[in-house]
């Protein structure tokens, strides 16, 4: 059942000589895991995510990702904190980008781009420009773009931090649905204990200075989840437990950020 997919082995990242962003991070993420990186600002969550995506070189240690069974343009989708859309392109152009960079013409990519837009509920907006969309809609475009190459792995770096509560919970449900339907392995970076508990079946709690994983928790609740879980007593219990662990890691540490 649990096949290891991503393996981090004593991964270390230094910026220059003095900033130790991630120290000896070891973690095995299994196929189908929905794991959250939870921790205070500056604990190296984004850095870890970028190293897994291959966007930053590691200083020491190794990151291994099991090769995909079927070949796709890109096996790994990345969603940034900001929607990171090209303002000069339409919604279609933006979602087309990963396929376009792989050499697919507009015509060849059309079906897949449309399918990705349907999945995030934006099929009517393919001709719109990013500036015409709300924050939540832009984020959906960003998710559609990550999904258009049919990746196995989805990395999300605080994707909903800038959104209002209602939009955020709606998008949370969408991410769960997408992850479930496409059997994605998701690494989700967040500040929010509630978001981490609601979404994931695993939470890696991180601490700052130096950035490291201090606890690897399993969320005890069936997955996928729905709105009923959000209001259940089990949810509150789990959230309280995770908060306790998080507080423990902060305790005695300098919390000046």
């Amino acid at each position: 059942m649990s096949t290891p997919l991503i393996r981090l082995d004593r991964v270390r990242k230094e910026f220059g000589r003095h900033v130790l962003a991630v120290e000896d991070m070891s973690l095995t993420i299994n196929q189908g895991d929905f794991i959250s990186f939870l921790g205070p600002s500056g604990c190296g969550k984004s850095t870890a995510l970028k190293m897994i995506a291959g966007l930053l070189p590691v200083t020491a240690g190794t990151i291994q990702i099991a090769p995909p069974e079927e070949k796709v343009e890109q096996d790994l989708g990345f969603v940034f904190q900001e929607p990171t859309l090209m303002p000069w392109g339409t919604v279609f152009d933006n979602v087309w980008l990963p396929l376009r960079l792989a050499g697919l013409s507009r015509r060849a990519a059309r079906e897949r781009v449309r399918a990705a837009l349907v999945e995030v509920g934006l099929s009517k907006f393919e001709k719109s420009y990013p500036r015409e969309l709300s924050g939540g809609m832009k984020m959906r475009v960003s998710i559609a773009r990550a999904m258009v190459t049919r990746p196995r792995i989805l990395l999300m770096d605080e994707p909903f931090a800038a959104l209002d509560e209602m939009t955020r919970s709606k998008l949370n449900n969408d991410v769960i649905r997408l992850a479930h339907e496409h059997r994605l392995t998701v690494i989700f970076v967040t500040h929010s204990v509630f978001e981490a508990v609601y979404l994931s079946n695993r939470i890696a709690v991180m601490a700052a200075r130096p950035g490291r994983v201090v606890a690897d928790l399993t969320v005890n609740a069936p997955w996928p989840r729905g709105e009923d879980y959000r209001v259940s007593p089990e949810f509150s219990t789990e959230a309280a437990r995770v908060s306790q662990v998080l507080k423990g890691t902060l305790h005695g540490d300098d919390i000046d950020h």
Partner: protein
């Protein structure tokens, strides 16, 4: 933010109710945007005409618009030849400024060391007034048109260079990561990411450089004091001033202004065409 979440529903559709009153107001705004400046300008010219007539200002001091018009008609052919010279000079220098500025800007953006080596030269050429360099250039370059071209080019070149560098460097770093993630080739990166990111900066520079190219062309010609058949509008202004032909000075001046306005309209239109759909600077807010 309740509105966000209702709009956010992808299936609710984008059709907003059509507000005819707002549409009519927008139309009136668009018409006014043309009517107001034109009528004001016409009124100013009419007042000028009236004032010259009323006060009986001698035409060798301030000629009436009607007299300037008449001079334009009489001297039209010869003035037009000069205007054509200035037009050619301006557009060639602008064209070369674009080519040089973009090429050098791209090189600078690619290589910091190169920029650090060459940037001082660009700055020195920029901050030294063209009037001060022009005599030297006229000595070194024998062909008058070429010498004037170099002067005008020097003035127009710098904004294009510096804005191209800034534009190419101001690409969103997350978008750059995205292109790395999807293994974009250098050419794809240039075409699909760097060029569009730099475009607003480039268009802003083009608007400035267009005006500067004309200024450069006129100033260079003033310094050159070129005479003879092959001269531009600036020489005609000097020449008329020597002969005390004030109406002809005004006529040449009007042509220079018209040329400047035409360049301004052209670069503005180009900017609107290129950026209109997506860039904040060219988007009209509907209210």
């Amino acid at each position: 933010m309740a509105t966000t979440s209702t709009i956010d529903d992808g299936d609710s559709g984008a059709a907003a109710p059509v507000n005819t009153a707002a549409l009519a107001r927008a139309r009136r705004q668009r018409i006014l945007a043309w009517v107001l400046p034109i009528t004001t300008l016409a009124a100013a010219i009419a007042f000028w005409e009236f004032w010259v007539w009323y006060k009986q200002v001698p035409h060798f001091l301030v000629p009436a618009p009607s007299r300037i018009w008449a001079t334009l008609m009489v001297d039209g052919p010869s003035l037009m030849r000069s205007a054509w010279f200035t037009v050619r000079l301006t557009f060639w220098s602008l064209f070369l400024a674009i080519v040089g500025g973009v090429l050098l800007g791209a090189l600078f953006a690619l290589s910091r060391p190169l920029e650090m080596r060459l940037f001082p030269f660009a700055v020195i050429l920029q901050v030294t007034p063209i009037v001060a360099i022009a005599p030297l250039i006229l000595i070194y370059v024998h062909n008058t048109f070429a010498a004037l071209l170099v002067c005008a080019w020097l003035v127009a070149f710098f904004p294009i260079l510096s804005n191209t560098v800034v534009g190419l460097r101001s690409t969103d770093h997350n978008l750059r990561d995205l292109f790395t993630l999807y293994r974009a080739t250098p050419l794809q990166r240039l075409r699909l990411l760097l060029a569009p990111s730099a475009l607003p900066y480039f268009m802003a520079a083009l608007k400035i450089a267009g005006g500067l190219a004309l200024i450069g062309a006129v100033v260079a010609e003033f310094v050159a004091g070129a005479t003879g058949a092959n001269t531009g509008l600036a020489s005609r202004i000097i020449e008329s001033s020597f002969r005390n032909e004030i109406p002809r000075m005004f006529a040449a001046l009007v042509l220079v202004s018209l040329l400047g306005v035409a360049i301004f309209l052209m670069t503005s239109l180009a900017s609107k065409l290129v950026l209109g759909k997506w860039h904040e600077s060219e988007i009209k807010r509907e209210s």
